[in-house]
Structures are given as structure tokens and as C-alpha cells.
Symmetry: C2
DNA sequence: TGTACATCAGTGAACGCGCGTTCACTGATGTAC
DNA sequence: TGTACATCAGTGAACGCGCGTTCACTGATGTAC
């Protein structure tokens, strides 16, 4: 692909180069210099668009949280067709996102950058969290008040289970994988929902 | 602390220096040179005891898996006083290990080194896994055969939940922490066990 | 339509730094006599 | 108990490398007239 002196859309090209590097070699494998090289550009050119290495990485994570939040929102679909189905769908969406956007996922959760250090990162991360919380909130309304755990606790459980499944069983990090990650998450959430009293024991 | 030309037990001193570095600054923060400096020794001295940077890191992880396996085994205690109590104890032990040995934990799970690449790492990791599997196996025997999920699936669920809780809620990575990690894991496993039919709904 | 000019995205060379690793060496330790 | 010597853990200097970052520059682009 030929190009002249000016690139056209270097900013986004750098983001995508970073994504490829991270997806391929892990968050460690990303360097500003290699991202620049992959975008066919001098390292110094990066500074026209980003404050530096961390700023580029933060933008990758930010875009990741954007997509993530949108996918969760889409899966939740305002609690349709039922609170239960919507909740299960958000769990599946979590895993689907991790599988489909490995570069984003690793930038978000494994790159070692602190949200809060980069403006806008924390807020877009909170948005994703909010969707999960809402799904749990809707779900929990189906329970009698006397046996209704806090919604934020339930969303934390599912978030943690999903994250653990991704880290240990979607990538190779947990040794041999006894089960496909999707099946693990599906069955795990199923048993959990039964424990909440939201699925019958025969289900 | 004074010492002469010879260190005495440099090998273990380096391991502990690495542990401190990792616990303090994350797995990224560990370098062979800084570990050597912390042990009051020239970087070249490291090569008397390790093949290189990765070998030192692998030894840290190996010792971690050793402790981890021992703690799980101790918590499981051959299924005493009951299969259920022993299983819950192994879950708590997972989290307790992560809290008490953060350097080891991060070397094991967040340092990006592949088990299998380092002899002995995979086997000692498998040992830890085996204890969890056994705890699940004992547990599952309390269920009627018709509703008995595979033990390896159950241990994978709990492993994933525990890992997720550690990654997201023990460290700051998940944003604001709505609940103490120990409480989250305890309640999560409780609901899960109820879903398996091993705890009564009133529990 | 053609020319002068301002803008600014990207160049290329250079920097200081810390990294992992190597090598010939040195000097403390422990053993043989 | 004292001396000669082998061992080998740690030194210190050096290496090549890739990193993030800076700087004065250059040349493509688009606008004003």
C-alpha cells in the first residue's frame, strides 16, 4: 500500500497497529517504536497524535471499553426478552468480547495501566460496569425481598467468574483446558442462578 | 547488614529480592539488574545461580506453586471435617494465598511466562490443580448420580471465580471495590453450592 | 487558472537510559599435607 | 598449627540493543489572492 508524505489517518492506524501487536505478543509486546514501524512511520511521528507511549495505550483501552460497554448494552437489551435471559446474555457477551477483541481486552485488563490516571478511561469503564449492574438489578427484582442479595454483589460475582474464565481458560494460562471457555461460563452461571433461586433444579 | 566477598545464600536472596520487586511494582517492575542490586550484588553474579532472567522468574513462580499446593492441601485436609467444609476451605485458601503472597501470585499468573517452557513449573502447577480437583471430586460424591456434574468442571468454576475475584477486587484493577474480596468469594461460592444442591436455600 | 504562502504531519538524526548478557579477573574459603 | 593450593562465588568493565523522547528540518497540502 503506497502512501505519500502524509499518512491520512495515522492516529487510528497506530491504534490498530498497537492492537495487532498486543493480540499477537501480549501487552508486553507492545512498544511505541514497533507500533510506529507497523504503521510505516517514524517513532517521532507518533507524538503528533499522542502524548507518548502510555497515552497511545490508554486510547486503545478506551476504545476497548467503548466497544465493551456497547456490546454489554446490546446484549442486555433493556432486560428483554426476560430479566433472566438478558442477564445470561450479558455474561456471554463478556466472553464473546474477550474472544473477539483480544487486543482490546488485554490493553484494558492486562496492560498494567491504571484507569483514573488517564482522563476518560475511568468513566467509560464505569459505563460498562453500570450495564452489568443494571442487568443484575433487573434480575434481582424477581426474587422475594427476604432473599434478595445486593445487585452489585451479583454483578461482581459474574464479572469475576467471567474474567477468571477468560484469563485461565480462554488463553492457555491455566494449563490444559478441560472445557471450552464458553461452556464453562454457561454452566457456571447456570449453577449460580439456580443457587439464587432463579432457575429450577431441573433446568 | 555486612557481608564479605561471598554472599552465603545468594540464590534464595535473589528470589526474595525478586518477590519484593514484583509485590511492590508488579511483574513488569522486576528486572534481573534490580534484583541483583537489591541483593547487594553485581548483575553478573546472578548467572552463578540462574541461567538468566527468565530462569530466576520461573524459580520464583515454582516456589509459589509449591507454597500454593501445600496451602490448598492443608486446607482440603483429606476432606475433613466434611466434603463441603473442605471444599469451601480450599476456596478461601486460594484467596488467602493471593493476599499473603502477592509476589508469588503475580509471578505465577501475571508475569507472562509459560509453564511448560520451564521444567518443573508445569508439574508443580498441576499438583495444585490436582488438589482442587480432588476437593471437587469428594464434594460431588454427595450428589445423586443423575445430578452430578463432572468434578473437573466444578473445580474449574471455583478456580475461575477465585482468580477473577483476586484480579478484579483484591487489587485495584476493577475500579471501586464494592465488597471485600473475601466476602465476595464466600458469598459467590455459597450461592454456587446452593445451585449444586449442596446447601439448603435457608443456609 | 496560476502563484505565494501558511500550515503542520512526518522525517531523520541524535540523546540518555537501563536492560540482559559475556568475559577475564580476583579474592575468600576450605582442604591436603 | 602452618603453608600451598584448588575451587568457585562474586567483581567490574564492556557489549549491543531497543526503548521512549527531543529537535530542527522538510515537503505535501490547502487556501488567499
Amino acid at each position: 500500500m503506497k502512501r505519500g508524505y502524509h499518512h491520512g489517518n495515522l492516529r487510528q492506524a497506530l491504534v490498530e497497529a498497537a492492537l495487532d501487536l498486543i493480540a499477537e505478543k501480549g501487552p508486553q509486546g507492545f512498544t511505541l517504536s514497533e507500533a510506529a514501524k507497523a504503521a510505516d512511520v517514524t517513532p517521532a511521528a507518533v507524538y503528533r497524535h499522542f502524548a507518548g507511549r502510555d497515552d497511545l495505550l490508554a486510547e486503545v483501552a478506551r476504545q476497548g471499553f467503548d466497544i465493551f460497554a456497547a456490546l454489554l448494552e446490546y446484549a442486555y437489551d433493556e432486560g428483554r426478552p426476560s430479566a433472566l435471559a438478558a442477564f445470561e446474555a450479558t455474561g456471554r457477551a463478556y466472553l464473546a468480547f474477550a474472544r473477539k477483541y483480544p487486543g482490546h481486552y488485554q490493553a484494558m485488563f492486562e496492560s498494567g495501566l491504571q484507569p483514573g490516571q488517564h482522563a476518560g478511561l475511568a468513566s467509560v469503564a464505569a459505563k460498562a460496569r453500570g450495564t452489568m449492574d443494571r442487568a443484575a438489578e433487573t434480575l434481582v427484582r424477581g426474587l422475594p425481598e427476604s432473599r434478595r442479595p445486593p445487585a452489585s454483589m451479583i454483578s461482581a460475582h459474574v464479572w469475576a467468574l467471567s474474567h477468571g474464565v477468560v484469563e485461565l481458560f480462554l488463553r492457555g494460562n491455566g494449563g490444559p483446558q478441560p472445557w471450552p471457555a464458553e461452556d464453562l461460563l454457561e454452566t457456571g452461571i447456570g449453577i449460580y442462578l439456580r443457587g439464587l433461586g432463579l432457575l429450577s433444579p431441573d433446568h
